[in-house]
Symmetry: C2
Subunit: 197 residues, 2 copies
DNA sequence: ACAGCGACTTAACAGCGTTAAGGAGTGGCT
DNA sequence: AGCCACTCCTTAACGCTGTTAAGTCGCTGT
């Protein structure tokens, strides 16, 4: 996809049009403006994400929250600036309503009230979005690090703040593990506060 | 502040320069490029936030996490697009290292290991940032709602998905309460998973 | 008196999202 | 057959953006 080559900043209407063998103003026949195009792009990303992994109705609520948020993160990481595209756009249509309905039903069957289920889903969703946004600020695509981001130099500058310096590796490295840990915290909190499991 | 009048999108170099009674290229004497200027602006926002509320060394770890994240949210809500400015920028200097050091020390004294304390702080931070980003997507400034966002219409469209429709009010209304609830979930998870108080 | 430097100006550039006006092709109606 | 209507696209242009180049003014130190 073009987004992965040029990033959100380079994703201009003229570049998109060139990709489609068309001139830029032709896009306005199909979309009201650029934001509408980005909304559609985010929706399509979401569609591919849910199509990739059908959900198991036999999941426990823990499994479902883990799967949904791991899947979301993986999908976002699949595109450069994926998280920014997502959080800057609103889905068109009802694609996401279907998955949400299923998740709410499953969490409800597990003993959560509807407000609790909604809060659990929304809170994990916002955490994941925030996490990947920061992650992609440092690693636009998995493996390639953004320039000017040197962990050793950061530690040297922070010599006067030893704990904060040491904490750097807990924040700017090993994103996979740290994402899991944060998600586990949230799930533990849901279990404890809502008395499920 | 100019940001509150025009939003991030309208925050052009020419507008900033006009505010300072100067022409746009003069800004390049003080900043390498626009991003450097935004970095400085985010740092200044952070400075004002921490200056506003000095932290109490006698806090429990729960109080500290609550205060820090409530304060962050309040600060972000104080500026239109505050969350986007924050998550798109990196702090200059060591302003934020000092507060981080204090928070890590307090959480350590409460019984958390350094990696646990770092994870607890970072996870709540990312949640708050994600939360306010979405919140400001719907309510740019407290009280004023973005156009085209009608909760009743959303419910009508989602008639086929009753749970998801009903969950709308758990997601798009009463942000204060829902922020608190999500934060409480995280704190409960930290207590449960890390075995503190 | 004059050089040097900091802080600014004017002028210009390529590129952006977007609008206006019009043209080529297709299908159906009379 | 002729013509209208419609879809989808083009070319041209607009005002705006971040940014660079080159030149100008006034202060400071020698």
């Amino acid at each position: 996809m073009l987004l992965n080559e040029v990033g959100l900043e380079g994703l201009t209407l003229r570049a998109i049009a060139r990709e489609l063998d068309v001139k830029a103003p032709a896009l306005y026949w199909h979309f009201k403006d650029k934001q509408a195009l980005l909304d559609e792009m985010a929706t399509e990303m979401y569609r591919r994400m849910t199509a990739g992994a059908a959900l198991d109705a036999g999941d426990t609520w823990r499994e479902r929250l883990l799967k949904a948020n791991r899947g979301l993160r993986a999908a976002l990481l699949g595109y450069r600036d994926g998280a920014k595209v997502f959080s800057g756009s609103r889905f068109t249509g009802l694609v996401h309503a279907e998955q949400m309905e299923g998740n709410l039903r499953l969490l409800g069957a597990a003993g959560l009230t509807l407000p609790q289920a909604a809060r659990a889903l929304n809170t994990t969703y916002l955490y994941t979005l925030g996490f990947v946004t920061e992650e992609q600020g440092v690693e636009p695509l998995p493996g390639e690090r953004r320039e000017g981001f040197d962990l050793a130099e950061r530690a040297r500058l922070m010599a006067g703040f030893p704990l904060a310096a040491e904490a750097g590796k807990e924040i700017f490295e090993d994103y996979d593990r740290h994402f899991e840990e944060g998600l586990a915290l949230l799930i533990a909190g849901i279990a404890a506060r809502y008395g499920v499991d």
